[in-house]
């Protein structure tokens, strides 16, 4: 009887085994959450950052390359520093820096390495390397740092630094991780995707403490990192550096392009800074200093500054008026009846008016343009005329983004009839007499140096332009250049109308508004000066502008120069432009005297004048009352969109 209990007992054994088998079957075969849990647990994706592409100029000179540096990582648990003060001295950090970095690292993980210090240069690393042996838990990891051997073009190139929180959150595809490097501003940002290359992914097995335990499945699913493409630019680094030297102690911009291709040869934003400053571990310190600098070196003036084009705009007026039929090359206007002052003797034809930059001449040209539509009501005629004027000028790329390969280009302003309707609170409440300052490039016009150099190139080409661009190729010349940089943009102005204008431009340099020294022999420079009103707004001097190209026939270079607070355009700006053109065409500088004068001149406004002006004190109220709308001094022009129209009396051009 009792013997039969063995069946019960064996039954219990089998019941246990069957229950467990059922459970195992469920865990192992039916339910796959556990196997997913396992790969999440122990297999980690490790991103391999590829070498970032280098940047070259048009002659294969390096503008940007990568220097190996060392990032120092710390594993808090292994750290055992007896003398923290000595360690901080070695690392050149303060005690509180040390504590905060270590605190962050400890928060992240006691056993996984965290970044302790970025980008120790080879020299720094060599200095601490021996001492580091005594400090457990610090591990150097080789990395790379952007280096700028030409020390130029800081703003156009941009810089590479840690991704910002905002950028991190705004990614469409989660590509970057916290702490990754990304191109900021300039070409580094514009061509980020091409420069950064393809990341490699390695799957490694990690143990429970996150320590690597070798490749997963022998690296079967790993992908190799592919280095980024090298960016070849159209920059001519020799001319670029020369232009830098000319713009020393000046605020402004120099731009030069090859008219036939639209390739940017020179891109100077002055004052500038050494791009290497933003590429070291002292990034934040240097960046802060640049931000505080009153001359605002971080503004990329060629595309981010907006100026009134001044007399340079007369070129467009001359071209579109001829095309419209309201102006003939032989048309002569005198000074009489014009509200504008002029320093020429008057009685010019078109060629002479360009050469001497005659203000009244273009006053009349513009008036005729606006009223050249058979409409007798001057208000209506002005509206129709200005619409036509806007549409024709727009073809030169004014008033919109040109589409240069930089992320920060500004639109500028080319006023439309609607713009004035709004400003005068209703249609047909304004006419030529309200807007005539446009005729000489003042008033509500706003233009960037880039658009003006493009105008110079358009005239050099006698009728068309290719959107200015920096890129000349990715990896190889001509490869990967966006299609939009191969398209000719026509201006809709006939070839023949350019000829008298160009004649006038040559005359301006040879025998006109340009200082005689700037008429450098053998380069055949054609140009137009401009003086952007600034003195009127409480400053001592206007901005000096010059645009031009050289040589006159079959032009190789188009230049635009802005020098802020340097007075009339024929001197400062034209001199710089002539020297830049000479350097590019001759590969050397023969106009030594001009070179010396330009380099010696200092147009920097005193730094304290650039600080935000104080509010007028009550005592001074009387003097300010007369000006109903005191215009804030605009020291270094940035994007100023005119808010209201002031009936300006244009006194600019020369």
């Amino acid at each position: 009887m009792l013997e039969n209990r063995k069946y019960v007992i064996i039954g219990v054994f089998c019941l246990m085994a069957l229950t467990y088998l059922a459970r195992l079957f469920y865990l192992q075969v039916l339910d796959d959450t556990y196997s997913l849990g396992a790969s999440k647990n122990s297999i980690k994706r490790v991103i391999e950052i590829p070498y970032r592409g280098q940047i070259y100029d048009r002659n294969n000179q390096l503008l940007v390359y990568n220097t190996p540096v060392y990032d120092l990582y710390v594993t808090p648990k292994k750290v055992n520093i007896s003398d923290t003060t000595a360690f901080c001295r070695l690392m050149d950090i303060t005690r509180s820096d040390f504590d905060s970095i270590m605190g962050l690292a400890q928060n992240y993980s006691a056993v996984k390495p965290s970044l302790f210090m970025r980008q120790l240069s080879k020299e720094d690393f060599a200095r601490i390397q021996d001492a580091l042996v005594d400090y457990q838990g610090f591990e150097p990891v080789i990395s790379s740092m952007r280096t700028y051997p030409a020390h130029t073009m800081a703003n156009a190139l941009g810089y590479v630094s840690e991704i910002s929180k905002k950028q991190l959150d705004n990614q469409d595809i989660p590509y970057y991780r916290q702490g990754d490097y990304i191109g900021h501003n300039g070409l580094e940002e514009q061509y980020e995707e091409q420069l950064r290359g393809k990341r490699g992914v390695k799957f490694v097995m990690q143990n429970v403490r996150g320590v690597n335990k070798g490749p997963w499945k022998n690296g079967e699913f790993d992908t190799l990192a592919v280095a980024g493409d090298n960016l070849i630019t159209g920059i001519d680094v020799d001319v670029q550096q020369y232009a830098d030297s000319l713009m020393k102690n000046k605020v402004g911009a120099v731009l030069a392009i090859e008219p036939a291709t639209g390739e940017i040869l020179v891109s100077v934003s002055a004052p500038t800074y050494d791009p290497n400053l933003l590429s070291s571990r002292y990034f934040s310190k240097n960046y802060r200093a640049l931000i505080k600098n009153p001359y605002k070196p971080l503004i990329n003036r060629p595309v981010m500054a907006s100026y009134r084009p001044g007399s340079t705009f007369k070129l467009i007026q001359a071209l579109i008026a001829q095309q419209q039929g309201s102006l003939l090359p032989s048309t002569v206007y005198g000074h009489a009846g014009s509200p504008m002052r002029c320093h020429c003797r008057g009685g010019n034809n078109l060629r002479g008016a360009v050469q001497n930059s005659c203000n009244p001449y273009f006053y009349y040209v513009f008036r005729k343009f606006l009223y050249f539509n058979g409409e007798h009501n001057t208000f209506k005629a002005s509206a129709i005329g200005l619409r036509q004027w806007h549409d024709m000028a727009e073809k030169f790329g004014i008033g919109a983004r040109l589409g240069v390969d930089l992320p920060s280009e500004l639109k500028g302003n080319l006023p439309t009839p609607e713009y004035y309707d709004k400003a005068y609170r209703g249609a047909l409440r304004w006419k030529f007499s309200n807007v005539y300052s446009l005729s000489i490039g003042e008033g509500e016009l706003l233009i960037s140096p880039l658009k003006l150099v493009n105008l110079a190139a358009t005239i050099a080409n006698r009728g068309w332009y290719i959107t200015p661009h920096y890129i000349k190729g990715l990896g190889k010349v001509g490869v990967g250049v966006p299609e939009e940089y191969k398209v000719r943009h026509e201006t809709g102005i006939d070839y023949k109308y350019y000829l008298p204008v160009i004649d006038g431009m040559r005359g301006a340099v040879a025998n006109g508004t340009v200082t005689p020294l700037a008429n450098i022999a053998g380069i055949d420079l054609c140009g137009k000066t401009g003086t952007s009103q600034n003195a009127k707004y409480g400053h001592k001097f206007d901005h000096s502008i010059f645009i031009g190209f050289a040589p006159m026939n079959n032009p190789k270079i188009a230049v635009a120069v802005f020098v802020e607070n340097a007075g009339w355009g024929g001197k400062a700006a034209a001199s710089v432009a002539a020297l830049v053109a000479e350097r590019y065409l001759k590969r050397k500088t023969e106009a030594k005297k001009l070179d010396e004068i330009v380099k010696a001149s200092n147009y920097l406004p005193p730094a304290n004048s650039l600080l935000t002006p104080k509010k007028p004190s009550p005592a001074k109220k009387d003097t300010t009352q007369k000006d109903p709308k005191p215009v804030q001094p605009k020291p270094l022009m940035t994007a100023i969109q005119p808010k209201a129209v002031t009936a300006t009396v244009g006194m600019g051009g020369n």
Binding site: L2, E3, R5, K6, V8, I9, I10, V12, F13, C14, M16, A17, T19, Y20, L21, R23, L24, F25, L27, Q28, V29, D31, D32, T33, Y34, S35, G37, A38, S39, N41, S42, I43, M205, Q206, N207, V208, R209, K213, G214, W216
Partner: protein
């Protein structure tokens, strides 16, 4: 037969021996896999690793086994009480002189090696029980005999509990299987199982639900009772039973929250809901399940497991060795291991039934019970069906004490059995 008196050959039950060797070999390979590190490529025989040490333990076990097989079978019968007394002494001694390992005072330390007397107490207790039950006239229905037997079991339990080894103490419950076979009234284990079930239910559900359930069952039971059984006596005892269950459930609540230590309470709570704290208390259970679950049907292959190797599973070469099996050899491997154990257990039971002496039979059932209990609890905890109780998987887990004790336990039985076969041939 030429060598029929040779204790090493045909007198031993070969099937058991093969099953035993199968377990030992698989165990050793899995210990190797559990500590294997892909970047070091240590050898199976490297003495600095657990696998190498385990091999050494296997070697010493072989010597012990030979010793057991050569001594006279009467040795175990005669010295059963002496073994027991010696073991009690050792358990007392370890409380005083034992090394403190993870809060447990149950290890003797000799150089790099540790011995846990509690592992051997099971074997000594089994011998003592067999010896006692072998006395003519002893019956499990007699109150006095039951008291003695309870005494033999409880004495080492108290001492082991005192050394903070709850897991090893629970193993003594496995003697119930032997006692049941030897005539323990069926209601005693029934009460035990009911109590365990109520215990778990009390952890999961609120008390009132369980009360309602019990009363519902009572009503159903009475309704289905044959009319002639519905006398006052039966109804009264049912009432007492129900009341007892309710008191028990209330007691469990109090016991779990007020009596158990925190880590014990957590181990039980995690059994009910392993997701309470996946990185804390639930870590062991969750990681064990992830490791086993990720093995799928066929497993990741020998030495290919990532979870166990990289220390996600704690104590993966000792108490959680089954995770390595589940991860690297999948459902098929797990099933093979379970089949090995069921085969071994069934074989022991069948052999025990064949014994002529009550001593050998009782001892055989004790062996089966002990191994069964270990397998049930150990595997059960890795797959989340049992609370985490730190007891080894027989023959698989790394460790000299457990390997020795299980081998000695088993081979004493095989020795006793070989005597039986030798006798039957005469």
């Amino acid at each position: 037969m030429a060598r029929r008196n040779d204790p090493f050959t045909q007198d031993i039950d070969w099937l058991t021996l093969i099953l035993y060797l199968g377990c030992i070999t698989l165990g050793w390979l899995n210990v190797y896999a559990a500590v294997y590190s892909p970047e070091e490529h240590t050898s199976l025989f490297d003495m600095s690793t657990n696998a190498g040490k385990q091999l050494m333990w296997i070697g010493t076990t072989a010597i012990l086994v030979i010793c057991i097989l050569v001594v006279n079978h009467k040795f175990f019968d005669s010295f059963a009480y002496l073994f027991y007394a010696f073991m009690i002494l050792m358990l007392l001694l370890v409380l005083v002189a034992g090394a403190n390992i993870k809060g447990s005072h149950s290890w003797f330390k000799f150089g790099g090696f540790q011995i846990q007397p509690a592992e051997f107490a099971k074997m000594a207790t089994a011998l003592a029980l067999a010896k006692y039950l072998d006395n003519p006239g002893v019956s499990l229905t007699k109150q006095k005999d039951l008291m003695y037997i309870a005494g033999i079991i409880v004495l080492p339990c108290i001492l082991i509990l005192a050394s903070n080894e709850t897991g090893s103490t629970l193993v003594f419950a496995s003697f119930t299987i032997m006692l049941y076979r030897e005539g323990l009234p069926g209601w005693i284990p029934a009460i035990g199982i009911t109590a365990a079930a109520l215990f778990v239910l009390a952890l999961i559900f609120p008390k009132l639900y369980i009360f309602a359930g019990i009363i519902l069952l009572l009503v159903l039971f009475i309704a289905l009772m044959p009319r002639y059984n519905r006398n006052l006596n039966n109804l009264l005892s049912l009432g007492v039973l129900v009341a007892g269950m309710m008191i028990f459930v209330t007691g469990v609540d109090f016991f779990v929250n007020s009596v158990l230590q925190k880590h014990q309470r957590n181990r039980i709570k995690v059994l009910v809901d392993p997701t309470i704290d996946p990185l804390g208390v639930g870590w062991n259970v969750t990681q064990a399940k992830i490791a086993i679950g990720s093995g799928r049907l066929q497993g990741k292959g020998f030495l290919e497991g990532t979870q166990t190797k990289f220390d996600f599973v704690p104590e993966q070469s000792t108490d959680f060795i089954f995770c390595t099996i589940g991860e690297e050899h999948g459902f098929i491997g797990s099933a093979v291991v379970l089949a090995l154990f069921v085969g071994l257990l069934a074989r022991i039971v069948i052999l025990a039934e064949k014994q002529r002496s009550k001593f050998a039979r009782v001892y055989g059932y004790c062996v089966a019970g002990i191994i069964f209990f270990h397998v049930m609890v150990n595997v059960g905890m890795t797959i989340g069906l049992m609370p985490v109780i730190g007891i080894p998987l027989p023959f698989f887990s790394y460790g000299g004490s457990s390997l020795w004790s299980f081998s000695i336990l088993l081979f004493i039985f095989l020795k006793l059995d070989s005597r039986r076969t030798a006798l039957s041939r005469r």
